[in-house]
Amino acid sequence: MSGAPFTSPFIPNTGDDRAAMLAAVGAASVEDLFADIPEAFRHPGLGLPAPTPEMGLRAEMEALAQRNFHAGEHPIFLGAGVYRHFCPAVVAPLVTRGEFLTSYTPYQPEVSQGTLQGTFEFQTLTAQLFGMEVSNAGMYDGATSLAEAVLMACRVTKRARAAVLDTVNPNYLAVIRAYAQPHGIEVYETDPAAPQLLPETACLVSQYPNFFGCFEDSQAFADLAHEQGALCVMSCDPTALALFRPPGDFGADIATGEGQALGVPPSFGGPYVGIFTCRQEHVRQLPGRIAGRTVDAEGRVGYVLTLQPREQHIRRERATSNICTSTALVALWAAVYLALMGKHGLRRVAELCWQKSHYAASRIADLPGYSLPLTGTFFQEFVVSCPAPPSEIGAALERAGIIGGLDVSDRFPNGMLLCVTETNTRAEIDRLVDALAEAAR
């Protein structure tokens, strides 16, 4: 800014503009405007690289991206909460239209009906998929949804203990702990085979299917929780819900999920969208944004952000959550995906995941040295006991050009959690089986 010509394609002020504006402001230079910064700290020098024009930037970033061994080039059998699903080509160009992409949270509803109605669709579709009464506009991700569900359960029940089944995604458990701890909420684990609730427990948290791909006795969990005045909280895989009974069926009070499964790219961890659904009666305890239907001055239907008194910008330290910027665009992505997949498509996806994962499991179970330590019904993911440490097996798969499963040897001897979705072809599965056989030799 030291009088040098402006050369950024992102800043329109020309030298003439600046001069005219400084004159209007009554300042001699742009530097003068920073006079409130104590001189000792002003212009500290910025040790960043020189600007890289777009051409060079793209080359640089492509080189970085190419250094990943990724699912665009290699079959992947890794899930563990983040799934590769097919997403129709139409989703990205629609969702990334500038009008969606570059708008803010819809504080001026009259000129934000696109975002608001899109959010309302997300709420409708997720509530329906989860078989729950209401949904909010989306949370950061599946893990924070679940953690906020625990906080909400404590608010609703006015209790300060949370039971979490030990088959819940360990990363989710870690987030629950981080969120619960400052509130003095005691989080404890319990065994799904014989779940125990301590007194004054606010909720029993389970995962559906659980972290190892298996279904558990969800009805029993719900009943147990309700018997003790606790809430039943379930974290569900949205794809599984197209085929299996939804949490609402079991009487879940709060059901959350990772919306990434709804066609959102894995993107090394985010952005995703947390699904958060609950019973109507608890709606004023919901965290996060909610869109609601109303009318305008002429009686035309329109949508607004509603129940805002729950939120930080109104209620401040007494808000139900501090969440502000959330994941509206990813929620829109999920809504468009659900619209396209629709009633039959999403079920078909779930059936394909079922079919292919069971084919893979049955073939792997036949391999010498491999076995399936779990016997319950599983969906899309299953644990394999390997003849060698899973890290070694994974390295062998990598050499064979395959992205293998998650190492769960902390829970199962030489256990590897494999995932097969509709995107894995039979040929890929057969290649995996061959590579596993080879690795066992």
Binding site: F6, I11, N13, V25, A27, L33, D36, L48, P49, P51, T52, E54, A63, L64, A65, Q66, N68, F69, L78, V90, A92, E99, T102, S103, T105, E110, V111, G114, Q117, F120, Q128, A143, N171, A174, A178, P182, F268, G269, G270, P271, I290, A291, G292, V295, A297, R300, G302, T306, R318, N322, I323, C324, T325, T327, V336, L340, G345, Y359, E422, I429
Partner: protein, 493 residues
């Protein structure tokens, strides 16, 4: 227009906004899926299966029309000036979108072994280094998924550090009355007790009030620099000193970093933790309300408590991902909002050090230009040079509340400023032009505000009816809250 003067073609407009479930017809499909190519497997026990799945049945074309139409109902930076204060609605380079969509990034899985994701980890490591440089603080966690989560993670880290000092009993978190709502909310979520601190007559924090609270129970202060009044707080240095002396730590909400890029490093000025909103300063478009990312930068003392994972560079030159020794734990299920982080890396690489100075210089120049041009029209609670934004009070003219002016601006094709915030300014209009707007646009905006003022002068009730030319007129928010309709439901027969 219609011959009988009736409102124009209302059904047509209504039809275009019918919800998906209202459009659904049994037998329509939005996509076809293949049959399984694997040998058939027995299906699960029927008792486990769900009964029916109420999702829409619509064609691809209908989905495209519907969402295209919805998009056109939105105001956006890509369509016009969006001076929404505190939100930094600037134009974000489109190349960032292309970079984030590269298959090598978009298809990398967060649970892959480090060896397989060296490119992604190196990207994260580079970004950490850049943010350290911008903040002047030595350690960074990219894990927080938005600004508010950065605040939560930041104050939890601060709390952990106090506990490590054996000062875990400290519970009082000072928060200026100008603070963004997320600050007190985050402090509360982190188990602190919020103590509000007023501003002084110059718009800076009231040092007397800070001193009065700086006792043995003070955990710290959450402070926004520059403040939500658009001011660089001149008392902040002293405030840091006082709080530190009392044994507290100082949190900086760095959401307004756009003003400071290359101009000052908060870490050098005594702040122990800074969160930044990458989606504001570092160019992820806001997407109608996210996603974002809210990395936190901390002092060496706080570094061991950062939330994981943190990217590291190993001695052999490879990159890894680690959770700090005494971490407050995890704040998300995976690796952070990588897609947002990569946009920030792309942006910083594109603009470089020189570009960062251009950003802050022009953002501040533009704000001060609007201050100068609009001072005749509105009350200015604190008459001094501003940083990235300027807050006026709309109190001057009857029939022209902040709400009225805001709604009428929509008719002029401009987005409204942030209204009624910060809370300390009555009828606040908080205007943040950003560096990506031109003088012509700012001049047109000033002119629109002059016209609106003249409209109110001509007819006191006119602005109450605005907007007149938006897709809908003022919406009944009370009704929405009274009888919440939060989803489509089958109409009763």
């Amino acid at each position: 227009m219609t011959p009988d003067g009736a409102p124009p073609l209302r059904e047509a407009a209504h039809n275009r906004r019918r919800l998906l479930m209202e459009r659904s017809r049994p037998g329509r499909e939005g996509v076809t899926l293949p049959a399984s190519d694997a040998p058939p497997q027995p299906m699960p026990d029927a008792a486990m299966l769900r009964d029916g799945l109420e999702l829409p049945e619509v064609t691809e074309g209908e989905v495209v029309r519907y969402f295209t139409h919805l998009s056109q109902l939105n105001f956006s930076v890509d369509t016009n000036f969006y001076p929404l204060g505190s939100c930094t609605m600037k134009y974000n380079p489109k190349v960032n979108e292309a970079v984030a969509a590269l298959p090598g990034f978009a298809l990398a899985h967060p649970a892959q072994p480090e060896r397989q994701v060296q490119g992604a980890l190196e990207a994260l490591f580079r970004l950490q280094t850049f943010l350290q440089e911008v903040s002047g603080l030595p350690a960074v966690s990219l894990a927080p998924l938005a600004g508010a989560q950065g605040e939560l993670a930041g104050v939890l880290t601060l709390r952990a550090a106090l506990e490590a000092r054996g000062e875990g009993r400290r519970r009082k978190m000072l928060i200026p009355d100008t603070a963004h709502g997320t600050n007190p909310a985050s402090a509360a979520m982190a188990g602190f007790q919020v103590v509000h601190v007023p501003s002084d007559s110059g718009g800076d924090i009231d040092l007397g009030a800070v001193r009065a609270e700086a006792d043995g129970d003070i955990a710290g202060v959450m402070f926004t620099q520059p403040t939500t009044l658009g001011l660089f707080d001149r008392n902040a240095l002293e405030m840091c000193r006082v709080v530190h002396e009392a044994g507290g730590l100082v949190y900086a909400d760095g959401a307004n970093m756009n003003a400071l890029l290359g101009r000052a490093k908060l870490g050098q000025m005594g702040f122990d933790v800074v969160h930044m909103n990458l989606h504001k300063t570092f160019s992820t478009p806001h997407g109608g309300g996210g996603p974002g990312a809210g990395p936190i930068c901390v002092s060496a003392e706080l570094a061991p408590f950062l939330p994981g994972p943190v990217a590291v560079r190993r001695d052999d030159g490879s990159y890894g991902s680690e959770t700090p020794a005494r971490s407050i734990g995890r704040v998300g299920g995976a690796q952070g909002n990588f897609g947002v982080l990569i946009r920030a890396l792309s942006y910083i690489t594109l603009l470089g050090a020189d570009g960062m100075l251009d950003v802050s210089g022009n953002a501040v120049l533009n704000a001060n230009y609007l201050l100068a041009k609009l001072r005749p029209l509105y009350d200015l609670p604190f008459d001094r040079p501003v940083m990235h934004e300027v807050v006026f009070s709309a109190r001057k003219r009857p029939g022209a509340t902040a709400l009225d002016v805001s709604k009428r601006l929509l008719d002029h094709g401009f987005h409204a400023p942030t209204m009624y915030f910060p809370l300390v300014v009555p009828e606040a209009l908080m205007i943040e032009p950003t560096e990506t707007e031109s003088k012509e646009t700012l001049d047109a905006f000033v002119e629109a505000l002059h016209r609106i003022d003249a409209e109110a002068a001509a007819d006191e009730s006119f602005l109450h009816g605005a907007p007149y030319d938006a897709p809908v007129s003022r919406l009944d928010e009370a009704r929405a809250a009274r009888r919440p309709e939060l989803r489509w439901r089958e109409p009763e027969a």
